[in-house]
Assembly symmetry: D2
Homo-oligomer: 271 residues x 4
C-alpha cells in the first residue's frame, strides 16, 4: 500500500498546486491513500468548506487541521457534517468534529488517520499522547486497519520525535506539521514506524512560512504591526512524505520525502 | 570557494563522528572553510576546552555556540583566549567572548562568521537583527571578505527565514541551528544568499534531539523528571550544508545538504 | 467557620515564621481550618517529609503543592502515605498522590480542598477547569461539605480569575498561589465565592520572589548564571487570606487579607 | 512632594472613573504629580488621541503605555506631537515616540518618568534594564530631578522585583503594570526606592482582567474563540499607588496603595 501525506496547504498558491498536480501524482505513483493538512488553505487562516472540497476533489482521502482549525468560523459547523475532515483529537471535549477516523481508501484498504496537536511552545491543550494512544488502541494496526497515519501538529522537534518513539510499532507513519519547513530526517524507527519531523508546507517558499516576507520581517525589526499577513503568491512547492507499507504488518517498508514544483530542491516519491 | 557548515555536535557520538570523518570529507570535497556548532558537544551541554580543541583539530576553522554556550563554565574563561570560538553576538554586553570574527581560511580566503541567537520561543536577548547587521556592515561581502556565514541559533522557522530575507545579498550563507533536525529547504534567495532553516545535528538520530529517548519520553508522558538527559551513543549522522561561492561576489552559487553516516538518508556535498 | 490559607512557604525563613506564629494566630482568631502551600519550603524547591511534618505540626490541616511538587524526590513516595498532602489534581494520570481531599477540621467541619495548576505561561498539563469541576461535583458545597477551598497555582492573573468565575457559587474560596506576591483584589463574587488572585508567599520579601536578589538580578542583567538561587533568610511575612463562611451555605461571608511579620504592610484577619 | 500613579485604564468604565474622581483626589490629597497608564483605555486596546486628552484633562501629568501602545494606530502619529505621552523605552530604535521624559509638575518640581516593558512571558524586546539605567543616568535623582517614576510593564513578578532592586536608591518609585491586579507588596527598599509589583487596573473588577468574563472563560474552557473581548462596564476601581518623597533626596518616605470606587476593598492615600 502506498501512502502520501502533504503538509499545510497555504493560500491560493498551495491550493492551486494541489489541484493541478495531485491527480497526476496519484496516478503516476499509484498512491492508495492521501492525507493533506489544510489548516492554512484559506488565506493562510483556516479552511472554508469550498476550499475543503477542492482538496477532496484533487484526491485527498482525509484532510487534517491544526491550531488554525476554526479560523474560518464556518468550519465549526460544516466539520460536523463531513466524515473526511479531522481537527486535533486533543482539543477540549465538546469541540466540533472528530480527531480520528477509520476510512476505506480507493483500493479497499482501511486506514486510521489521527490528527493531534502539540503543547510545547503552543497553546494549552489536552494530553496528545494519551489521546492518540487511545485512538490507536481502538483500531490496532495489522488487525483492524491496514495503515495508521498520525499528523502531529507541533512546534518543537522534541515533541514530534517523542510521539514517534511513543508510537513506534503501532503506527505506519508519524509526521509533523505546523513549522511549514520540510525536514530531511525521514526514517523508519526500530519498531517499523516511519517518522518525519515536519512534512513542510504546500506553498510558495519565496516567503516567510508561506507569508509574503515584508510584514513578518517588519515585525521582527520593529515589533510594530504594519498590515496583515498575506500568503505569498508565487508557485508552490508541494511538500510531504510518501510511505510504502509492508502488507503483512501495515508498518513502513520505505519512506521518502516529496517536494514537487516551486523553488525547493525536488524530491520524487519514486518507489 | 567551498564552505562547509555542520550543525550542533551532540555528545561523544557527535564528537567521534567529526573526528573520524571530517578530515576525509574536507580532503575529498576540497572545502576551503569549515564552521561547526559545538554547543552540545560536551555531554549535550556546552563545550569544554578539550572538546573545542578536538573540533578544531578535526578541521573546524570556526566553532559557534548557542543557548548552551556557557553550560560548561570553563568556557566563560577560555573563550576569551580563543580567536576561533564564537558565542551569540546578541548576548548582553559584557558577556565573555565575541559573536563575530573575520578569519583567514586555509587557502587565504577571508571569511566573516557571525553567530546569533533567536528570541521567539527562547530566552530574552538583544535584537539579533541589528546585531548581525552591524557585524556585516563592518566587513562587507565582496569588498572586505570573500564569504559571510551566519549561524542563527533559532527555534522558530519564521525567525530564521526572517534573517535570511533580511541578509539576502549581504551574506553567503544564513543557516539555522538549535532544533537538531535537518531541514530540506536549502535554496538560494533572489539576492544570492543561501538559506537553510536548520543544519541539523551531528549526533545519533536514534534519539529525541540527540538525547536517549527514554527520559524525554517519560517527561512528555508524566511531567515528572526521572533522571537526567544523556546523549544517545549510537553512530552519529553528520548534518550540515555545503555552499559553493561565486568568487566575483562572494554570494552563493550552489547550496547542498550534507548528511553522512548514521541512520538518516545520506546526502553528499558533491560539487 | 473560619478558614485560613497561607501562600507558598519559601525556605527556612518561611518555615520558621509558620512554626513560630501560626499556632498563636490560630488560637487568637479561632481558625477552624488551615491550608498552607508548601511547594518551596525546602530550600525553595519542593517539600521534604520532615518539612511537611513541620507545617502540619504548626497547624496546617492540609498542605498543597505546585510546579515544584516533586523537586524533593522523596515526595514521590511519602505523598502516597500522607492523607493531608495534595499535589495539583491535573498532573498526568498516574502521578503519585492526590489532588483533592475531603477532611474533617478540628471542630468537626468537613472541608474539601483542591489543588490545581495553571497552564498559561506554565508547563503543559491536563485541563485544570474540568479536573476541579469534577472534584467539586463529587462533594458539593452545602450538601456534602461545609467549605470548599481551591488553591489554583497560576502565573497569569487571567487564569486564576477565570477559575474564580467558573466556580462562583460552588466554592468557598478560590485563591491563587505561585507568583509569591500577595494581591489586594480579595473580594466575594456575585455567587458567593471569595476570590484572591495570589495569596503571596510566606517568605522574606527583601528578595526576588523569596530568593536572595543577587543571582536573579545577575541573570536579568547578563543572561549568564553565576550560581544557584538561594532563599533569602531575613524575617518572613506570612501572607495569605482569611475567610468567614456563611454556615447555611458554606459560601463566603467575609474575606480578608493576612500579612503578618517581616517587611510588608501588616494585615490582620480581624473578624 | 506627593506622587500618584494609576495603573492600566481599561475601557469606558476606567476612563469615566478617572474623569469623575481624579480631579477631586488630586485636590483632596494635594498630589503634585500624577502618572496614568493608558494602554487599555480605548476599548481595552490602545489609546486614541481623544482618550489620551481625556486622561490629561482629568489631571495626568504623564500618560504611559505598554504592549498595547499602538493598537490604536493613530497613536503611531499623534505620539510624535505629544510631550506628555510615553511608550516603553525598550521598543526597537525608530519606534515612534519616546520612553522617558523630564517634565515640570504643577508645583514646579521636575520629575523624570520612564516607561519600560518586560520580556519574561512577553514579546522579544530590547533590554529594559540597560535602557532604564541610561535614562536615569541622564537625569539623576536629587541632582537634576526631584522624583523619578518608573512604570515597568511586566507579566512576571520576578522581573518587576528585579527592576526594583536594580534601581534601588536611584528612583523614587518603581511600579509594575500589565497584570491588571493590584498587589499589596508596596514597600520601601533599603536604598529608599518604593516598589510595588503591580498598580492594578482602573477598571471594573467584576471581570477577567477588565474584560467581560464570558468570552475569556469560554476560551479557557473550550480553546475556541466565540466572539471578541469587550471591556466590562460596571463601576471601576481606580487602582494605584501614592508616594510621599523626602524633599532632600527625592527618595520615598512613604508608600501607600490606592483603591477607590468599584468592588475592591478601598484604600485611601491618606498622608
Ligand atoms: Fe500551518
Ligand atoms: Fe499550525
Ligand atoms: Fe540550542
Ligand atoms: Fe543544540
Ligand atoms: Fe510555583
Ligand atoms: Fe512557589
Ligand atoms: Fe494592560
Ligand atoms: Fe499590557
Amino acid at each position: 500500500m502506498k501512502l502520501l501525506f502533504l503538509g499545510d496547504v497555504v493560500g491560493k498558491s498551495g491550493r492551486d498546486a494541489v489541484a493541478e498536480r495531485l491527480p497526476g501524482i496519484i496516478a503516476t505513483y499509484g498512491f492508495d491513500f492521501v492525507v493533506i493538512n489544510g489548516e492554512n488553505a484559506s488565506h493562510g487562516r483556516g479552511l472554508t468548506e469550498s476550499h475543503f472540497k477542492g482538496l477532496r476533489d484533487a484526491g485527498a482521502d482525509i484532510v487534517t487541521l491544526g491550531d488554525h482549525a476554526f479560523d474560518q468560523r464556518e468550519a465549526l459547523s460544516y466539520i460536523e457534517r463531513e466524515n473526511t475532515l479531522l481537527r486535533p483529537i486533543n482539543f477540549a471535549p465538546g469541540a466540533p468534529g472528530r480527531g480520528a477516523m477509520m476510512v476505506e481508501g480507493r483500493n479497499g484498504h482501511r486506514v486510521l488517520v489521527v490528527n493531534a496537536i502539540g503543547r510545547v511552545f503552543m497553546q494549552p491543550m489536552d494530553d496528545p499522547f494519551r489521546a492518540v494512544e487511545a485512538a490507536l488502541a481502538a483500531a490496532p494496526l495489522g488487525e483492524v486497519v491496514d495503515a495508521v497515519i498520525v499528523d502531529f501538529h507541533t512546534e518543537a522537534t522534541s515533541e514530534i520525535q517523542g510521539m514517534g518513539f511513543f508510537l513506534d510499532g503501532k503506527a505506519t507513519l508519524v509526521v509533523g506539521t505546523h513549522t511549514h519547513i520540510p525536514t530531511s530526517d525521514h526514517r523508519i524507527l526500530r519498531g517499523g514506524t516511519a517518522l518525519m519531523a515536519d512534512a513542510g508546507m504546500c506553498g510558495d517558499f519565496d516567503s516567510i512560512i508561506g507569508v509574503d516576507a515584508e510584514e513578518p520581517l517588519n515585525r521582527f525589526l520593529t515589533g510594530i504591526p504594519n498590515g496583515r499577513f498575506t500568503p505569498a503568491e508565487g508557485e508552490a512547492t508541494l511538500c510531504g512524505v510518501a510511505v510504502e507499507t509492508d502488507p503483512r504488518t501495515g508498518l513502513a517498508k520505505k519512506v521518502l520525502p516529496v517536494r514537487i514544483g516551486g523553488t525547493l530542491a525536488q524530491a520524487l516519491p519514486d518507489f
